[in-house]
Symmetry: C2
Subunit: 414 residues, 2 copies
C-alpha cells in the first residue's frame, strides 16, 4: 500500500550523501565548484557509482557523458522509467542543485529493492552532462544529445576558458571510466520524472513541502558584442572615444530599464561581462555581455526578447553592436497524467503540496519532447541557489524522495 515504499527512504543517509558529495569541488565558503567534465565531477561520479553498486544498480554511460544507474525489470528490454538530474554545478554553486535529483533517485531505487518490489520495466537513475552551462555554453548538453534536441557533434568543438573542448572533456571522462558499458543515445524512455530544489521562494513562503511542477518557464538568451576602439586613458578626448565598456554599461542600464522595467514577472539578467583589454589606463576596445531573459508567458517572452536588438542599437553611441540569440525556448506544460501522479502521492502520504511553475530551466525540458515528463520540487531556504549559501532541510529532502519513490513505482509497475 502507499507509504510502504516511502517508509524505506532513510533521511539520515540521504542527508549525509549530500554532505559527502559536496567534498568533490568544495570551495572555501562551504559551496561547490564542480563544473561539467571536471576532475571534481569525475570524483562525484565514483562516489555515486559506489553507492549505486551497493544498492544493486548497474552503472553505464553513453557518448554524451551521461551517467546511468540501472535497476532491471521483468521486461528488461522494455523502455526504462528514467529519473535523475545532474552532478555539475555553477562556479560558485551549492550542495543540492542537481545533486538532490540524482541522490533521491538512488534512495528511491534502494527503497524499491529493499521492499522486494518487482518492476515491470527497468528503472534508471541518470546524471545528465553539463546541465549548468557555465564551463561549456550552452547548458543541458547531455539531455539535448540524448533526446536528439541537438546532435552531440554540435557540442564537441565548444571550449572552456582554457581552450579545453567538450570533445577533450568527454575523452577524459570515458578514459577515467573505461570499465563502464557505453550505450547509444536516443534509447526510448517510458517516462521521466526529475526531483529538484525549487530555486525560488514560493514553496517556503506558502509552507508547502512538495511542488507539483506544471511546466517550465520560457527562456531566451543572447550574446551582445560592443566594439569600440582602444585608446590612452590620459590623452584621448572623451568626446572622440569609442569606449566599449562605458557603452556597454549604458546599454545594460537601458536594457534593464526598457525590458525588466520593475516587473518581477520579467526575469532579465546580465550575468557575464568580458572586457578587452581590461586594463585600468586603456579605454576598452571590446565588451561582450550575456542576456538571460525569462517569462512564464511565451508571447510576452517573444515580444520582450524581440525588443533587445533595437535597444542595444539605440544605445551604441560611437561603438558598433552585434546581438546574437543563443537559445529561444517557449514555456511548456507537463502532461496532466504526470502532475496527477505527483499530486496524488503527495496527498496520499499527507505531505503538503501545491502546483508550481518552474522558473529555472531543467533537463526535463528536453525529455518532455520524447516521453511523459514531470518534476517534483522541494523548498530551499530564501529561494537561494547557484550560491554557496544554498540550503535545504533534511526532512524536505526525505519528503521529496518519498513522493518520488511512489511515483516511480507506479510508473514502472504499470
Amino acid at each position: 500500500m502507499t507509504g510502504d515504499l516511502a517508509a524505506g527512504v532513510d533521511p539520515e543517509r540521504l542527508w549525509e550523501r549530500h554532505q559527502h558529495l559536496a567534498r568533490h569541488g568544495a570551495t572555501e565558503g562551504g559551496g561547490v565548484n564542480r563544473q561539467a567534465l571536471s576532475a571534481a565531477e569525475v570524483g562525484a561520479w565514483r562516489e555515486v557509482i559506489g553507492w549505486a553498486k551497493d544498492s544493486g544498480l548497474a552503472p553505464f554511460t553513453d557518448p554524451a557523458g551521461n551517467l546511468f544507474l540501472r535497476l532491471g525489470g521483468v521486461d528488461d528490454e522494455g523502455a526504462p522509467v528514467l529519473t535523475g538530474s545532474h552532478l555539475d554545478s555553477q562556479p560558485s554553486g551549492g550542495r543540492f542543485d542537481g545533486v538532490f535529483g540524482v541522490l533521491a533517485g538512488l534512495e528511491a531505487a534502494h527503497a524499491i529493492r529493499s521492499a522486494g518490489l518487482e518492476l515491470a520495466r527497468p528503472l534508471e537513475i541518470v546524471a545528465w552532462m553539463n546541465e549548468e552551462g557555465s564551463r561549456f555554453v550552452p547548458g543541458m548538453m547531455g539531455s539535448a544529445a540524448f533526446t536528439g534536441a541537438a546532435p552531440l557533434e554540435s557540442f564537441l568543438q565548444v571550449s572552456d576558458a582554457d581552450g579545453v573542448t567538450v570533445r577533450d572533456g568527454l575523452a577524459a571522462l570515458h578514459a577515467a571510466f573505461s570499465e563502464l558499458p557505453l550505450r547509444p543515445l536516443g534509447r526510448p524512455v517510458a517516462a521521466y520524472i526529475e526531483a529538484h530544489i525549487e530555486q525560488g521562494p514560493i514553496l517556503e513562503r506558502e509552507g508547502c513541502t512538495i511542488g507539483v511542477v506544471t511546466g517550465i518557464q520560457g527562456k531566451r538568451t543572447f550574446r551582445v558584442t560592443v566594439r569600440g576602439e582602444e585608446a590612452h586613458a590620459g590623452t584621448s578626448n572623451p568626446s572622440e572615444r569609442k569606449d566599449a565598456l562605458l557603452t556597454a554599461a549604458r546599454m545594460i542600464g537601458a536594457l534593464d530599464a526598457g525590458i525588466q522595467a520593475g516587473d518581477d514577472s520579467i526575469k532579465f539578467t546580465v550575468g557575464r561581462l568580458d572586457i578587452t583589454p581590461n586594463a585600468p589606463s586603456v579605454v576598452a576596445g571590446t565588451a561582450v555581455f550575456s542576456i538571460d531573459l525569462r517569462h512564464v508567458d511565451s508571447d510576452v517572452l517573444a515580444a520582450l526578447g524581440d525588443r533587445i536588438p533595437a535597444i542595444c542599437a539605440a544605445h551604441s553611441g560611437r561603438c558598433s553592436v552585434d546581438v546574437v540569440e543563443l537559445t529561444n525556448s517557449r514555456s511548456l506544460a507537463f502532461p496532466e497524467t504526470m502532475t496527477r501522479l505527483v499530486r496524488g502521492y503527495a496527498g496520499a502520504l499527507g505531505i503538503p503540496a501545491m502546483d508550481i511553475l518552474s522558473s529555472a530551466g531543467h533537463d526535463a525540458r528536453f525529455l518532455h519532447a520524447v516521453c511523459p515528463t514531470g518534476m517534483i520540487f522541494i523548498p530551499c531556504k530564501d529561494g537561494i541557489s547557484h550560491n554557496p549559501r544554498e540550503s535545504v532541510k533534511k526532512e524536505d529532502l526525505a519528503a521529496g524522495a518519498r513522493v518520488l519513490v511512489e511515483v516511480l513505482a507506479a510508473l514502472a509497475t504499470r
Copy 2:
C-alpha cells in the same frame, strides 16, 4: 657646432630597430604584448644590450630590474646624465610607446661616440621596469624604486593574474642576465631627459614635429568594489536582487555623467571591470572596476576625485560599495632650464616645435623629484597609442633623436 651630432642620427637604423624590437611579444594585429618582466621583455633586453655593446656602451642593471647602458665620461665617478623610457607595453600595445625613448637614447649615444665627443660626465640610457602597470599594478615601479618615491619592498608582493609576483619576475630577470653588474638604487643623477611619442593628437594637428614638454598632467586612480549577492537568473525576483553587475553598470554611467560631464579637459576612464562569478545564468555577486581620472589643473583634479565616493554611494542601490584610492599625483611643471634646452636645440636644428603638457604619466614624474628633468615629444598618427595601430613617421623618430642628442651633449659636457 649645433647639428654635427644630429647629423650622426641614422633614420633608417632607428626605424629598423623599432620594427625589429616589435618581434618580441608580437601580436596578430601587428601590435605588441610585452608586459613587464615577461619572456618577451627579456628578449627585447637581449636585443637592446647587443646594439648597445656594438656602440661601445656598458650594460648593467639594479635590484628593481631597470636596465642601464653606459657611456663613460671624463669624470667617470660623477653623476650621470640619464635618458630613456621603457620596453614594456600594454597587453595590446604598439611599437613606439616607451621603445622610442630607449632607442633614441641609443642612437644619440652612438652619434656622440661616432663624433668622438668627450663627455664631462657619464651618459646612461635607461629602460625602466614596469612603466605600464598592466601586468603588475601600479605602473612606473622601476623609476619609483630608483628615485625612492616608493621602496622596492612595497612592490615585491604584487602579483599578476596568474599569481606570479614582482619578486618572482625580478628573480627570473636577474637569473636571465646574471652576467650584468648590479648597481644600487638611488644613485645621484645630474639630469634626466625622456623622449616619447605624444600619445595625443595635438602635435599632428598643429603640424609640429617636436613637443617641448612643460609638465605632466595630474592623475588619481581608484578601485571600486561593488558587493551584491549571487542568485538564480531564472527564479530570483529582480526587485529583491543585489545585482553587482547591474549596479556597477549604473554606477559607471552615473560617474561618467557626473565627473566627465562632456568636458574633454577631464579624462575619466573605467578601463577594467571584473565580475564574479561571471556566469550567464547567475546574478553577479561582485563587480570590481578601476577609475583613472586626469586633469591639467591639480585643484580641479582634487575636487573631481573627491566627488567619486559620494557618487558611488548614491548609486549603490541594494549593494554595498567600497572605494579605495590607489594613486594621487598632482600636475607638475618641468624646470625652465630643461624646457629652454629642448626648445633651443629644436630651433637651432630648424625643426618646428611647440610647448605641450603631457596628458599621459611617465617615469619622468619620479625623476623630476630628484634631478632637473625634461621630455621631448614627437607626433603619433591620430593620437592613438596603447593600440596595435600606434603609428609614427620615420622622419619624426629621427627628428626627436636629433634634438635629444644635442640636449644630451649639452647636459653632459657642462
